[in-house]
Amino acid sequence: MIIIKTGTYLDLTLLIVLIVAMYYYNKVALAGKLPPLRTIPAIGAITEGVGKSIEENKPVHYAMGASGGQLYTQLLSMTLVALAFLNYISKLCAKYEAKLIVHMPYQAESIPLIEAMVRDGYKSEGKPELFDPGCLRYYGYGALTWTQSVTASYDTEGVGLNLSIGIFYSDCPISLEMAKIKGGLNVGGTGRWIMVYAFAMMCDYVFLGQEIYTAGAMVSENPLMLAGVFVEEVGKYFSYILLALGFIIATMGVSAVNAFFAL
């Protein structure tokens, strides 16, 4: 009896390759033997931005997108990365005692995770008393109320650093540009390639596409997350191999290519 669906063999192969690679690199990471990663300049800019905020006596703004709290869709991974950055920026704000404002996404189901990340950030720096629940801002449904409210917040409260990481749609061209106009240091990125242009054009420091995931691992300093970066590289080699195999099979014609990728 065939238990694996036709048309998913290649998918399964790739998944197994990644799982094996993760097992291997997790062991390497726990043994403390991971080689260093290429630096991403935007990471350093986050600390710089917190310093700037303190110097100017303005708050640090963190945004994960108007629709950035997706917990059960295909974009979940970006929500998790955005939460990792939220934890990081909370720690930095607690450490340097900078004021933090979190512009929450409209998905109310993500609020418990968001609050937990911020609380943990303050707690792990030994300053839980500095956490202010009023820093978590919720603006109702959709991008239009979110973009307007974020802009209003920049206006009334000022903006030192604006860190925007997560799932962004047509909300970021306004929030990023307004932060820039109000004198904020913009740092951010999204995994949604179609919107990366806004970050590339409006941010002082940008994480291009996949860089948010790698940067997320770097700021966490967690060996297992860093190991994930190496697993991603294994995946990329797999894609090169698949591409090469495809071209070899292409010499047998279009139908052969279709048959191969239908595996």
Partner: protein, 213 residues
């Protein structure tokens, strides 16, 4: 309550559910597909029930804003929020057809429809001003950015299509060749990163979930 119940069990549940969903994708067993159908409809219900929590946090934020700036104007802003909240709730509950009633649709179209369309219009200005700042030919990368942006912009403006007809095929070429190559590569790279996050979650090692515990 034990540490296991408070911390580890929710992560184990997440892992088991994730694995079951993946089995539905890979295997021919109907039971997994049925489970997937139930689970995906349940999460929508969970999410729907959670929605009022937003109201609590919205109120927190409104109070915070008023505490920061105790002026009559700020009070008026805050009251405006609740007046419109009430108006929409009444329009959505009091009339036959609830959110589909003409009364609710009047509110919805005139306010929500216009504001959402205008938000897109505002983006024209923000994109234009960011390009004024960024579209400067200072390196090979920025030249590529400007080239991709400006040629396709001109291609979309009717006047340039008429008086510079060559801009049409050139704009299309930029769009369908280098743009497709670059974006495909970026999508594939990001997809691997997303997969790794997913596998780590199933493994029970996703740091975000551990922190939240």
């Amino acid at each position: 309550m034990s540490l296991f119940v408070r911390k580890q069990l929710p992560i184990i549940i997440a892992s088991i559910l994730g694995i079951l969903m993946i089995l539905a994708y890979f295997t021919t067993f109907d039971i997994f597909a049925q489970f997937k159908g139930i689970a995906t409809s349940w999460v929508v219900i969970v999410s729907a029930v959670t929605v009022a929590m937003g109201f609590v946090y919205m109120t927190n934020a409104q109070i915070k804003m008023y505490q920061m700036n105790k002026t009559p104007l700020q009070l008026a802003y805050t009251l405006t929020t609740y007046v419109f909240f009430g108006a929409f709730m009444i329009a959505g509950l009091a009339y036959k057809g609830d959110v589909n009633s003409p009364e609710y649709q009047w509110w919805f179209q005139n306010i929500y429809g216009n504001v959402s369309a205008t938000i897109y219009a505002v983006m024209y200005f923000t994109l234009a001003s960011s390009a004024y700042r960024t579209f400067v030919i200072s390196s090979i990368e920025s030249e590529a950015l400007v080239l991709g942006g400006m040629i396709y912009t001109l291609r979309q403006i009717p006047l340039f299509q008429v008086y510079m007809p060559w801009i049409v095929p050139l704009g299309e070429w930029f769009l369908l060749v280098p743009n497709v190559g670059g974006s495909r590569g970026a999508v594939i790279a990001a997809a691997f990163a997303a997969l790794v996050v997913g596998i780590r979650t199933l493994w029970g090692k996703e740091v975000t979930l551990e922190v939240s515990s």
